[in-house]
């Protein structure tokens, strides 16, 4: 792991030139989008001004087709800009953190891994993700990627018109790493929305038989933010030692977002909600900014924060 100082050095020597050369592509994308909008406006104007005459219809239609083609080319250019950004910039940031980490911009955590975690039991209708990174920190291997899962509802209004609504199940960073203790059951640490909203009364709402027993822990602050379910009271406490509870609280405070954790099989799964897209270039302002790069660096570093806070490299128990 390299320090922020060396990131600055790499920014000036490698990243900044790469970003500079991408700037022209970015400007080209913006230009094409603007052009498309302009053509579209022109088409609409001629259609309205022509008041339904066949001349106006033909012109309007051809301009609309032109606008469509223009949009299409803008989107393609945008894709190639994103791809170049990921390969020339993001890849270098990751190399700067650890040259042995693997980066696959187009892949994500698999559906199997997502199901295995047991964190979000709801069946999804749409599953997207990108920026898969895998690697090893000391003794702990991990995989992480951005993930967005959604489900669909269909409603029919009084006139019989169908409309689809998409709802997010999870959007953010999904990580899993080797856990340093042997576990047999399943333990879930979930955001405690009920208790935060309704106080002690919320505890009554927390019982969720499908996830196992509700485990009450002795750390009050932890109890305020999280609710714990497990199929084994003792194992839940074996995993959630006073130190680990502090660590989870620290991680939550540091990223100031909802965190879901599960301990299943040999792994610990961590899902952190983020509403914005991560690791994507900005389109409508200059891409050459150190602060953007720094932010990305810290986002990738999430995994080292998790591994260090939770002491996953401490291997003093029977699991090697």
């Amino acid at each position: 792991m390299k320090s922020a100082d060396s990131l600055q050095e790499i920014y000036h020597s490698k990243l900044s030139p790469a970003l500079q050369s991408l700037e022209s592509t970015r400007k080209e994308v913006v230009k094409r989008f603007l052009l498309s909008v302009l053509i579209l406006l022109l088409g609409a104007a001629s259609f309205i001004l022509g008041q339904g005459s066949s001349w106006a219809f033909v012109t309007g239609l051809s301009i609309a087709i032109l606008a469509f083609v223009s949009f299409w080319s803008a989107i393609r250019k945008h894709d190639s800009y994103k791809q170049a950004f990921k390969n020339n910039v993001v890849r270098k940031i990751i190399e700067c953190i650890d040259p042995d980490w693997q980066y696959h911009p187009e892949s994500c955590i698999s559906e199997n891994e997502y199901v295995e975690s047991g964190l979000f039991p709801r069946r999804w209708d749409r599953y997207n993700g990108d920026d898969l990174i895998s690697g090893v920190i000391d003794k702990t291997d991990f995989r992480l990627s951005e993930l967005h899962t959604q489900y669909k509802t269909v409603s029919v209004d009084s006139k019989g018109r169908r409309s689809e609504q998409w709802h997010t199940i999870f959007k953010g960073l999904f990580v899993h790493a080797d856990f340093n203790k042997e576990i047999k059951g399943e333990t879930f640490v979930l955001p405690d929305l009920a208790e935060r909203l309704f106080g002690k009364w919320g505890q009554k709402l927390q019982r969720d038989a499908s996830r196992g027993q509700l485990i009450k822990l002795e750390n009050n602050e932890f109890e305020k933010y999280f609710v714990v379910y497990s199929d084994d009271q003792v194992e839940a406490r074996y995993i959630l030692t006073p130190k680990i509870m502090e660590a989870i609280l620290n991680i939550r405070k540091r990223f100031n977002t909802e965190i879901y954790l599960s301990f299943v099989g040999t792994r610990v799964y961590v899902a952190m909600s983020f509403t914005r897209d991560l690791f994507e270039p900005r389109l409508y302002r200059s891409g050459v900014r150190y602060s953007d790069i720094e932010q990305m660096y810290y986002q990738f570093n999430t995994i080292s924060v998790i591994i260090n806070e939770m002491n996953l490299n401490t291997r003093i128990w029977t699991k090697e």
Binding site: Q233, A236, R237, W317
Partner: protein, 190 residues
């Protein structure tokens, strides 16, 4: 049949239903406490089973620690006696914890022993069982707290009084123990 009698019967039925549900709830809580204590006992026994191995492997390399070794052996022998009271069990267990800790600290003076693979595995097993004991104790405390709350709130307290249920004590975990064993000192790898 007159209405007063009907109302009386209905009230009796409701009251006995309430009584049964409180009674069952309290029994469940008491069983959970016994169960948690049993779970802790299992882990304590696991640790007793590791002691002869520990004594044997330390003996081989560190003849100077005779006193510690015989103390540990004696403690184990008394811990395995049947019919110990809960308090005796706890006090013996605390002494064993302390003795093992001292042993592992004095092992620092014997590099050969520290590098021995069997011994490293033994240390891992001890750490494992130590963490399990601590988890089992915390579970015990949680269910005892639940039990104590259960028998003290009204109207449960009336039923609990009739059943002769008394407040149970939670484990007091000593300050030294609460601060997890400093493993970096105890267990330097490589």
């Amino acid at each position: 049949m007159n209405t007063t009698l009907l109302i009386l019967i209905a009230a009796l039925v409701i009251l006995s239903l309430i009584f049964i549900s409180i009674y069952n709830g309290l029994i469940r809580r008491r069983n959970e406490v016994d169960n948690a204590f049993g779970g802790m006992d299992v882990q304590l026994k696991k640790r007793y089973d590791l002691i002869p191995n520990l004594v044997a492997s330390v003996k081989e390399y560190a003849q100077h620690e005779k006193e510690l070794l015989s103390k540990l052996t004696a403690l184990r022998a008394s811990a395995l006696k049947p019919d110990l009271s809960v308090d005796e069990k706890i006090s013996l267990d605390n002494q064993i914890s302390g003795a093992i800790k001292n042993m592992l600290i004095s092992v620092e003076n014997y590099p050969e022993l520290k590098a021995n693979e069997n011994f490293i595995f033994l240390q891992r097993s001890l750490n494992e069982v130590e963490s399990q004991i601590s988890a089992a104790r915390r579970t015990f405390n949680a269910v005892v707290t639940d039990y104590n709350n259960g028998i003290q709130v009204f109207p449960n307290s009336i039923v609990a009084g009739m059943m002769g249920m008394k407040r149970k004590e939670v484990f007091v975990i000593s300050e030294a123990e609460r601060e997890n064993v400093d493993v970096s000192k105890m267990f330097k790898q490589g």
